[in-house]
Symmetry: C2
Subunit: 219 residues, 2 copies
């Protein structure tokens, strides 16, 4: 059980407060289904939003990247950061244009990231990241060597100040619009994995592992 | 034909420069396949990254939302903004953990948004947005009325300063790793539409329109 959560003025939803989810477990289910986040940081007053992968363990998010990248160099100095994860679930086609919407689940985490520099903790964070994205893959791969670890930066962001927002379910139209003669409903959207494409130089005796064959984000 | 594009120091890629795409047409193909963006803006030094839908016409991006929302209220004052669109195409499973990657296409647009306040232009921008997300839907819907238009803010962001980044194709392993005995290859990922779910109060004589039945983002 993780601790209960009280939103701050920065994370309390202003609009559509009925879509707010302040429950930590619910937010973690969203974070665990996704693996792509958008990281926001500020350089000279200009916000940058960069897509990257992430992993979660307990009340921490981990992101990684080249030690030489603009983002990692900025973030390791402990600047304010925003990490947002969005899962898109569907298009909501109302009878009126105004009531069109999307079904989605999103989490916004605010905070400051810190560099994971203890070598053991760094390898463990990389394992977490790998297992978050493709569970089962770490043990089947050639492990990182010293040079590779040096070239990689790992950052930890505590999940302290956050909000989650969920819209699900059917169309909500104004009562007067239900007689408007048009189709209305939801088009479900889902990220699905296609047939794996083996590498051209793959040893033909090596089978596709189950974690690849049955890859899915549903938890 | 749109004008050629020269990156600024803020949008020139630092890392993995081989993945950079500075061609405006290529960036627009990415923007036209997506419809979900992540908008970054700064309040009191803190970056916020919020998911929202968008539309494109010519060299402009349009976003919209409740006139009362925190994001729209901030952005309409012409603060610096970053709009990022990411399309995820696959997981790249290399033999080494270090060479694992993702196939993706992303566009980052920096600039300042302006409020679209001319009523005619505002309706046209809303039409663009709607047609960007579900082509064919606008004409089939009950059009926005005065009250709804008032409650909606539309912002225009010129696509002037931007960068695009693309990673596609197979695994790239270190030469020494090709003999490492593990599966390697690409797991393709795709956002797909499921079977449309008609609204519970739908008139049963109304057919599912073709733009719903054959909904797809591939352009």
């Amino acid at each position: 059980m993780s601790q209960p959560y009280v939103p701050t003025p920065r994370t309390r939803l202003v609009r559509e407060a009925d879509r707010a989810v302040y429950d930590r477990e619910a937010a973690y289910r969203i974070l665990d289904e996704g693996f792509l986040c958008h990281v926001g940081f500020v350089v000279d007053g200009q916000p940058f939003v960069i897509p990257t992968s992430y992993g979660r363990k307990d009340d921490s998010l981990y992101i990684h990247g080249s030690a030489a990248s603009r983002m990692l160099r900025q973030l390791k100095d402990g600047v304010p950061v925003c990490v947002t994860v969005t899962l898109l679930d569907g298009l909501v086609l109302a009878r009126s244009i105004f009531n069109h919407s999307m079904n989605y689940r999103s989490v916004v985490v605010l905070g400051k990231a810190t560099l994971v520099d203890d070598p053991k903790e760094k390898v463990e964070a990389l394992r977490l990241l790998s297992e978050h994205i493709i569970p089962g893959r770490w043990a089947d791969s050639r492990q990182p060597n010293e040079r590779e670890l040096k070239a990689t930066s790992v950052l930890r962001l505590p999940i302290e100040e956050f909000s989650a927002k969920v819209r699900s379910g059917p169309v909500v139209d104004d009562e007067a619009d239900y007689s408007f003669p048009t189709w209305a409903g939801v088009v479900p959207l889902k990220m699905v994995a296609g047939t794996p494409i083996g590498d051209a130089r793959l040893d033909p005796t090596i089978q596709v592992p189950p974690y690849v064959k049955r890859y899915s984000r549903s938890r």
